[in-house]
Symmetry: D2
Subunit: 377 residues, 4 copies
Amino acid sequence: MKRILFLILLFLYCGLSYAQTTDNGILVMDEFMVPSKRQHIEIPGFDGFQALKCDFHMHTVFSDGNVWPAVRVGEAWVEGLDVIAIADHMEYVPHSDDVKVDFNRSYELVKSLAADRNIILVKAAEITRQTPPGHFNALFIQDASALLPGKAVPENDKEAVAKAVAQKAFIFWNHPGWKAESIKGSYDWIDFVDQLDKEKNLHGIEVFNGDNFYRKALDWAVDHNLTVMANTDVHGLTAMTYQLGDNSHRTMTLVFAKERSEAGVREALEAGRTVAWCGKYLAGKEAIMKNLFQACVNPGKPYQKKGTTRYFEISNQSDLYFELTRKVDNRTETILLYPRSSQLLTAKDGENSREYEVANAFVRGNQNLKVQFTLGD
Amino acid sequence: MKRILFLILLFLYCGLSYAQTTDNGILVMDEFMVPSKRQHIEIPGFDGFQALKCDFHMHTVFSDGNVWPAVRVGEAWVEGLDVIAIADHMEYVPHSDDVKVDFNRSYELVKSLAADRNIILVKAAEITRQTPPGHFNALFIQDASALLPGKAVPENDKEAVAKAVAQKAFIFWNHPGWKAESIKGSYDWIDFVDQLDKEKNLHGIEVFNGDNFYRKALDWAVDHNLTVMANTDVHGLTAMTYQLGDNSHRTMTLVFAKERSEAGVREALEAGRTVAWCGKYLAGKEAIMKNLFQACVNPGKPYQKKGTTRYFEISNQSDLYFELTRKVDNRTETILLYPRSSQLLTAKDGENSREYEVANAFVRGNQNLKVQFTLGD
Amino acid sequence: MKRILFLILLFLYCGLSYAQTTDNGILVMDEFMVPSKRQHIEIPGFDGFQALKCDFHMHTVFSDGNVWPAVRVGEAWVEGLDVIAIADHMEYVPHSDDVKVDFNRSYELVKSLAADRNIILVKAAEITRQTPPGHFNALFIQDASALLPGKAVPENDKEAVAKAVAQKAFIFWNHPGWKAESIKGSYDWIDFVDQLDKEKNLHGIEVFNGDNFYRKALDWAVDHNLTVMANTDVHGLTAMTYQLGDNSHRTMTLVFAKERSEAGVREALEAGRTVAWCGKYLAGKEAIMKNLFQACVNPGKPYQKKGTTRYFEISNQSDLYFELTRKVDNRTETILLYPRSSQLLTAKDGENSREYEVANAFVRGNQNLKVQFTLGD
Amino acid sequence: MKRILFLILLFLYCGLSYAQTTDNGILVMDEFMVPSKRQHIEIPGFDGFQALKCDFHMHTVFSDGNVWPAVRVGEAWVEGLDVIAIADHMEYVPHSDDVKVDFNRSYELVKSLAADRNIILVKAAEITRQTPPGHFNALFIQDASALLPGKAVPENDKEAVAKAVAQKAFIFWNHPGWKAESIKGSYDWIDFVDQLDKEKNLHGIEVFNGDNFYRKALDWAVDHNLTVMANTDVHGLTAMTYQLGDNSHRTMTLVFAKERSEAGVREALEAGRTVAWCGKYLAGKEAIMKNLFQACVNPGKPYQKKGTTRYFEISNQSDLYFELTRKVDNRTETILLYPRSSQLLTAKDGENSREYEVANAFVRGNQNLKVQFTLGD
């Protein structure tokens, strides 16, 4: 009730003339409505690269998704993404009784809306072959319809990808472990993929898809120098799939780009400057992961010395999590760096650097990132 | 980290055999995913009627909405609704370049899904005339396509509604104050509506639409004995529109029905046993509002006496808010009853009942519900 | 901004006379303040017993706690507890340079406040011996000061407990695994405890203390017929320790009592009618756990039949979690029943009951509750 | 359940050796516990000054507060404050039956703890005279006990403050409108204060105290060049008073200091470089408020041009709110800048700057901050 008083007084005193002061018989009760805003995601860049937050794999009613393409732009804006690609299935259009089949439509319908909202919209399609070999996303294409190789039969698999190659697409292998349990041998570095890779026609691989972590895919990315990708593959709504909030975000690819533009995204993808992010987990190539960690986490200078002990405040400036562990004597010491927060850390004089494993960050399927930082002065 | 230990031990000791214990190279990281569940909304019934939570006005890609019909069922299930009606516009189909125009499709596509999820799906359409007279929803129709009266020109307004009458629809006037500012005279008890009402062909009226409260509409509902309705009119996603949570819900109509069935819903709507709910606000006819209040709020028996003062715990068992106010001497006393919570209240011996106004509950456009309760023993 | 308009109009039209309409130069800005309310915790009773929510172990500045006793009452009121016991340490008073040592003061200071807030305050003390044997809480005592047996030296352990026995206290063993790692042999069914038990002077045992689950203690409770207890042992603030909210509560003992009174609590404790609750976990004796489960969870009647398949909505009416698992062929089926929510379940005709293990409910240290329910009609 | 699998696999594969792998019969269930971390509050500095987050007014059991002094340090650490002052009442010690009266103790007890946690602890006391003149805080004192002027009788008011002056304290007037309704004339620029001010012995004034905004005090601060202060005056727990979270914080004084040290705080307070912050509201002197706004909010460069329209993303990098309003034709345009988020804004070519009022920021009791920013290129 006090608030009402305040607001009345605010109105009377501040001389603001709010929308209307005459009564038209309509009251607006918006206490529990979601406010319209574009939430920032804090990820620092490094070495002159900025972090773009990207989701390169999502669906709409134009394939088997449940939303109109505009929803994908609206979600991206609200959640603070920089770049999205709608990648509707080429060969799977279950709504075709009701929705006209046109593989370019989801892009065309929202190209202008995305530009208005400062979202970079990458034209894409999902080449949807049977498993194996499974699905491949083609980014930066010109004409999605031209990708269709006649029929979704095995003998056309090669042709389907070739058509994307012909459009100079950036091609990555989606959810490589999908159906791993039902189709034996499908979650493997299969010949089809090996040949694509040897011909330089495979450029990236999904390490995270939704909440799935394909550990083998991370190994393949490292061993074959493929770009590490993380995407939602969302068919429904991100807000009903992910607990979106200040400390929780959709699965996404962090792309470290020279500039915030489609060309910048492409250059970075081709250079492999990405980190895959899913919940509190990170996966990627060691050098990039180390750079990202250094950009986010800083122990600063000691703020206190007591005897031979120096006190540090180790700070995480980003919206990422870092779970640092190291062996001390017989036990494991853990430092949990939550988004935008700090922890205390003490070090004896003479201990000028320290090494931790990052338990939630992977540089191979079964290997964690190792980091080292200076404990100065 | 301790949790990991716990979970490993749980696994080792409890003898549960979780999904798989062999490694297939795929890890699932679902800490930040939205769990799948149907959240209850606690609204007590009264007099043998149960409270059904209903939204009779929402859109899909089959008119100007942004979602496939299945999303409406999914949202309703998660949010704990009992009854929904997809009411796509008859005369406004902006997606018709891509989506086949068929006014029955949104119902047909999800009829079975709704039944599987224990959601009562009422067949409906929005008769979308220019304003005035504006839009009308027709519930319990047989064939939406048969409602179209040729063209959306003023001379057909009457015919459009007549076609719904012919299908014995329950017809209500949507958002009566929509465009009130731009179209003078539109937010009035217009002749068109008056005639419908006199012919017994207008049965309800939206008092809340989204977060708009049409105060005049509440007066008309009372004066013309129309059923009070509250609906979302959602075109996008409820989860991106409403702050959905334990204490906040979408705008909805509470229908007090003899049974949880389509017939039960219709009987209650025709009998006018509804309360309109929007955020923390309620609107409806006085007798029903009083019944609902009595079913939700109870001061119980005194738990302590000190001298001549008795102490009560006034309890709100529901997910509704009640903001009780009364004048005491020169000031206003307020009791805020949040969902599923209690407040303390003291009364002198001899004060055996008490009267409050419910500041967030309206029985007319400019009149609050008055309630009285016994302070026994 | 629309809200301001609304509130002004509300003020002008509804005739509510809010606190003051003249300006005194003070505005109250309480949007982000915590509202004052007593949140309900929904736990159904059974067999005529009601569920009382109790915490029998907490500290104040009168031993090594960090709060004035009134805070304990305020926390309990806000969180919806029925019963609390402040059990300050007898032999450990680190604030004694500043706070007068008086073991009865924490009770005396807030006895009246608790009564005013409808909280049952049980007089208690923590007999704080070295480990082993460790700490014991004595409930329902008359004079805490009279419990002190001279000195905290091992030879007085027996005497310390005897003084509580003399006051006819209900005595339970606290956190039996505390310091288990540093003091070998301490987390065992030690002779001291065995003798107490044989003399009928040990009545209960903490199975949960804070977020620790003492699995052996649950076995001892079952084998020696001790009352199962769960308490916070909070020294700081519950709000800074537990993520308090609609779906998360402090650790507590659910006491199934004939009446909501101190006598009712005592009778139920002596009869062993308790369930220990910590986060999403439950622990207790099998018969009581089954009763609680049956009171909370109900599959209802089938709402749909399709061919030979019946569809049920299994509903959890309580604020507890239940994680049901069962083996089906070679895999494990899981049903997660979150607080106040439902899940779908299908059963073939002829399957008239079903059995699950409750993965988050323990009836022994390494054994889960098994439940069975009817799938009728 | 999938998480369990993940965690087991994580354990098996990652080679992390978590705390213990042998079973000791104790499980830790911490899903719903509050994680220990120091949350950052993002407030940019300007002109080489950094923003220190300060609360100079809080109580403990050593006067009429309800917590041990250590709680104040713990709360400050968790909430991300830089500077606190415990200002226990000099003349009001209601716990004196139990707690020894010593006005220096709350400082002494936690001086070392604060230093360990990187919190600057300013020694302080609240000179607690009757109203009028009311209460005054003295910061940077040497000996609180020496401040007591004998008795709390009006004739000693002057002497009480003089003793703080003698210790070269920074002195500010607390909650100037407290009891404004019951004590007529107390919420005025009273002679006592006027004289203090003229003698240069009044240095600051609370504009916000808890959730109260003393509008007149802001005018006095501007007219008499007093430092603007905002403090909690918390007696209980901040976590039970404020909805603490990523977008909501306790009431605090933002101090713009040359360095993060006690000397830095004092220099800034004496120079008047502060902004008062309460919920979503800000109050302060115009020049500083403008600097703060410029440091937080930036429209950037246009990201798109369409015809003569340029599109900007106006971004708020801070944890503050800014509610921008301006008159456009006959209506009011509002831009709500939530913490760490952006909004869209369009401008025609040729419109190179724009002016808004900040509806939630006050530079006088009844006057909002006006801001201007460039819409370049």
